[in-house]
Point group: C2
Chain length 359, copies 2
């Protein structure tokens, strides 16, 4: 077991969620350079790290603004001085609209909407804040999540936005399925033609998204910015889809083998309350770097069930190991603080300031 | 949409994790009465609620001590004045042992162990705290998680514990698979005979566990206490296995339908960062009380993908609904506060004080 893992266990206990800042900086720099080369701004999605500390690293490297999924995240980042915030989510109801207005008083905010009910509620935020609100139309080009399904609906919603007091139609938000360049281009072209034909102002923002889609930067003409979150840390899903190498994974869960009740199995002290039950379509609940043939076959809340049947060298009770989680964004959200390292040194702790800001 | 849901959404926003105290009290009273009737103490597992507020309700109803899974939980409850704490988990390493010693200075603690490596580390906690430490042997009677696999191993570990300075062998901890009464009884009888033959003191504690196993209270002769957590709130898994009715489910996630991009689908503002990806072997990620034929078919972090194809009445954008989660213990752990209601009234908020105490 290496000395750093021993020190982490002694100082913070296990499981601990640990981030290597050198890898973080390298991930940020690589994606920033790729976006610069493609002539597309990067607008990092802070849902992955939920921490102004990391947001500032991305901003200092050249990121243009940030993306938040929830108003609760935007509040934390506006408080920390972030000024250009896209909330990529339908905000609905008086409670949300009131909070939006208060964030608008201290930051420039753009929100996404995919339906007239949401749009109808937004003028109240402009009225309460005394500022106009930029709104982008969320478009679905195949993911079947949120987003209008046709260019005609996108144009109709753009007109609706433009007709409302205090709102400005600002453009389109896309989250294309992987490799759906052609379908997305066709949707975008038709929507752009529609808003031009309607005499609406030229869209300021055309936002694409997704860390896996960074591989296709520049493939959709007209895109001005890209939202990506996971690239800052990466995870087993990103390795599986080719968006990152194992060495690009900056975050690991440091955990201890606490039981070996039978030769072919063991228990890790990280369960679903640390690694989460997200599989991302992969086998098992994470990759143990020291025992890649071992499977985290099943989770209880605080137990990771190890299947060691295929391991030549099996871990002993007390061994401390590193796990690359399947999905890093949900793991960060389980803890209040990340342990920060740089190479072989422990640097300190970084608060996950917007952790659990679900509403 | 009912008035209470509208008030919750207006006051706290959605998603909100909401608990009905009247149902909580009823669940506590029912299980306490069942344990009293069976002559078995209840030692509630606080991993479900992670809140001294609920722990006190259980204690006031007659619970004998509490169960914690992690030392971080025990710290919170010892600070809140809980005095009889079983930590049902192998504690390993100097960091954990040091924290255990500090908890022992303010509460009576029993810990579980399933291997000699863990046992060898525990005398240091007794030494540091100046108190003896009761240790129970964790026994596996079929679940294949942690726990010694045979009565002979259990007896050997009991002798090991009894031979160590500062440690007292206190008994056995069981977590039987459902309906494994006979196997568990045979294991326990052999282990008890073994420790008696070895001249060890009579075990003070024989602890069984699991909310589904409450149905078999009294079926294992010699059991002195039962650890159960989920029964305080219940969830979709407990309904599925017959341990609770829908009406016994005290916790719901109150969420808003924020998108209806196509007739047969929609998006709920609760995703894997609220409901979690735990399926518990069930179809979908929760039961929508207002639309039981609707499926929460898939989750993204902040999106619940609704399949409404089988709904006669489909929810509209802006509708606020209640979701009974698959697994309540992991949902509580996602939030800092629960919204407390009683019938149709909002009572206040209850902090989830030990949330995220994974280490």
């Amino acid at each position: 077991m290496n000395a750093l893992l021993r020190r982490i266990a002694a100082e913070f206990g296990t499981p601990a969620v640990v981030v290597d800042l050198a890898k973080v900086e390298r991930n940020i720099a690589r994606v920033q350079a790729a976006c610069d080369a493609a002539g597309v701004s990067i607008r990092p999605h802070i849902k992955t790290h939920k921490s102004p500390v990391f947001g500032k690293m991305q901003r200092d490297a050249g990121a243009k603004g940030i993306t938040c999924q929830k108003i609760g995240e935007a509040e934390i980042f506006a408080d920390a001085g972030f000024d250009d915030i896209l909330i990529s989510y339908n905000l609905l109801g008086e409670e949300k609209v009131g909070r939006l207005a208060r964030v608008m008083q201290r930051a420039t905010v753009t929100v996404a909407a995919d339906n007239p009910t949401v749009v109808a509620g937004l003028p109240r935020a402009a009225e309460l804040s005394g500022r106009t609100l930029d709104v982008v139309v969320e478009c679905d080009t195949g993911r079947k999540r949120a987003g209008v399904e046709t260019p005609a609906e996108a144009v109709a919603l753009a007109k609706d936005i433009a007709s409302r007091p205090g709102l400005t139609f600002a453009g389109f938000m896309l989250y294309p399925p992987e490799n759906a360049w052609r379908e997305t281009q066709a949707f975008l072209d038709a929507a752009m033609a529609g808003v031009r034909a309607a005499g609406l102002p030229e869209p300021r923002i055309v936002s694409s998204g997704g860390t896996p889609n960074l591989a296709g930067l520049g493939k959709i003409a007209g895109v001005t910015e890209h939202r990506a979150g996971t690239y800052i840390f990466n995870d087993r899903m990103m390795v599986a889809c080719g968006a990152a190498s194992l060495d690009d994974c900056a975050l690991t869960v440091v955990a201890t083998v606490v039981s070996r009740a039978a030769p072919e199995r063991g228990i890790l002290d990280a369960g679903s309350k640390t690694l989460t039950s997200d599989t991302g379509g992969l086998d098992g609940y994470g990759l143990i770097l020291e025992h890649p043939e071992g499977r985290i076959a099943k989770l209880a809340e605080e137990h990771g069930f190890l299947d060691l049947s295929r391991c030549n060298e099996r871990p002993q009770i007390g061994d401390v190991v590193r796990v690359i989680p399947n999905h890093v964004c949900v793991v960060v959200n389980m803890v209040d603080r990340l342990v920060a390292t740089r190479g072989d040194d422990i640097v300190g702790e970084i608060p996950v300031a917007a952790r659990g800001r679900i509403a």
